[in-house]
Symmetry: C2
Subunit: 181 residues, 2 copies
């Protein structure tokens, strides 16, 4: 087992405790379950799965229906997962480009700055809505519930922050730029 698991690989092993899955399934699952505080791309999933298989932490089935390959956790995988999970979790990282824009805001026309701010506020509102909807329609286990709560408190705090920004940062936003995805 060459090198210690990174958090992405560890999480994949974690999900594989539930059932064997394809790379596709794992990506979907990760997006749905930890996507709020851990981003993963398809490339990463396949890269990590390749490595996990090489290290004997998962076993890969023959290609099924749509070339689908099921990945099954091995005993070594279970052990590696527990080792990873028991390690001290690394520091939290936030990277928020909007705050950079605000930090240098005096270099920007006020209406443009306000437009950027408005666009981001909308994103946070949507996320909060989706979290509360989830909470209203499902009954998560206490652990999932704790992470959901985190999301809700976080988004609520951020929205509050938006709503208490000084007027001159938010007044008269420019026409929002196309495609505020």
């Amino acid at each position: 087992m060459p090198q210690p698991l990174n958090a992405t690989a560890g999480s994949l092993l974690g999900f594989l405790h539930e059932r064997p899955m394809s790379g596709w399934d794992l990506l979907e699952t990760a997006r749905a379950r930890i996507g709020g505080f851990w981003t993963i791309t398809r490339s990463q999933v396949y890269r990590e799965l390749t490595r996990l298989a090489a290290d004997g932490l998962v076993e890969v089935s023959e290609p099924g229906p749509r070339d689908r390959r099921e990945h099954t956790l091995t005993d070594a995988g279970r052990t590696a997962f527990r080792d990873w999970l028991g390690r001290r979790p690394g520091p939290e990282q936030i990277r928020y480009p909007l705050l950079l824009t605000i930090n240098f805001g005096h270099h920007l026309p006020p209406d443009q700055l306000a437009a950027h701010i408005a666009a981001h506020r909308a994103i946070h509102q949507e996320r909060l809505d989706s979290y509360t909807a989830t909470l209203a329609t499902t009954t998560p286990d206490p652990y999932t519930r704790a992470t959901l709560d985190f999301g809700i408190r976080y988004e609520t705090a951020v929205l509050d922050w938006f709503d208490h920004l000084p007027h001159d940062l938010t007044a008269n936003p420019a026409q929002p730029p196309p495609a505020a995805v």
Copy 2:
């Protein structure tokens, strides 16, 4: 000008509007001013400065006292900065390993999970304290103030979250692992 500035390079140019600086100065400045929501390492600073110089966005002085090289913003640099700043800021990203640990918490002995949680709570408390101390001793401009407020609201919300976690996630933490830095 080969490719568009990334946010790190853009920020460096932003700071150079104030005065010419060495890589060292820029790292210090960035840590102090945007470190709460944008991490930068020394390697990155030097790498970006090399590129910025190659692209003519900064001018590098002859080595001074301690091999110190001052970087001065050029007109092209000012233009590039404004272009960068005007672009729509990218999505916010949070990566919080502790939440992964919690998400998979049922695989972990309760006291260990509680210990990890306690360690992280302490970190957030310290950060909140340092932000409020800053606010108490300085009078930041409105833009800096807005980013500081973000930090305060964020840390406050996170601490609240910690304090409302269900008892069984936080009770009887194991002896905290060595060096909770």
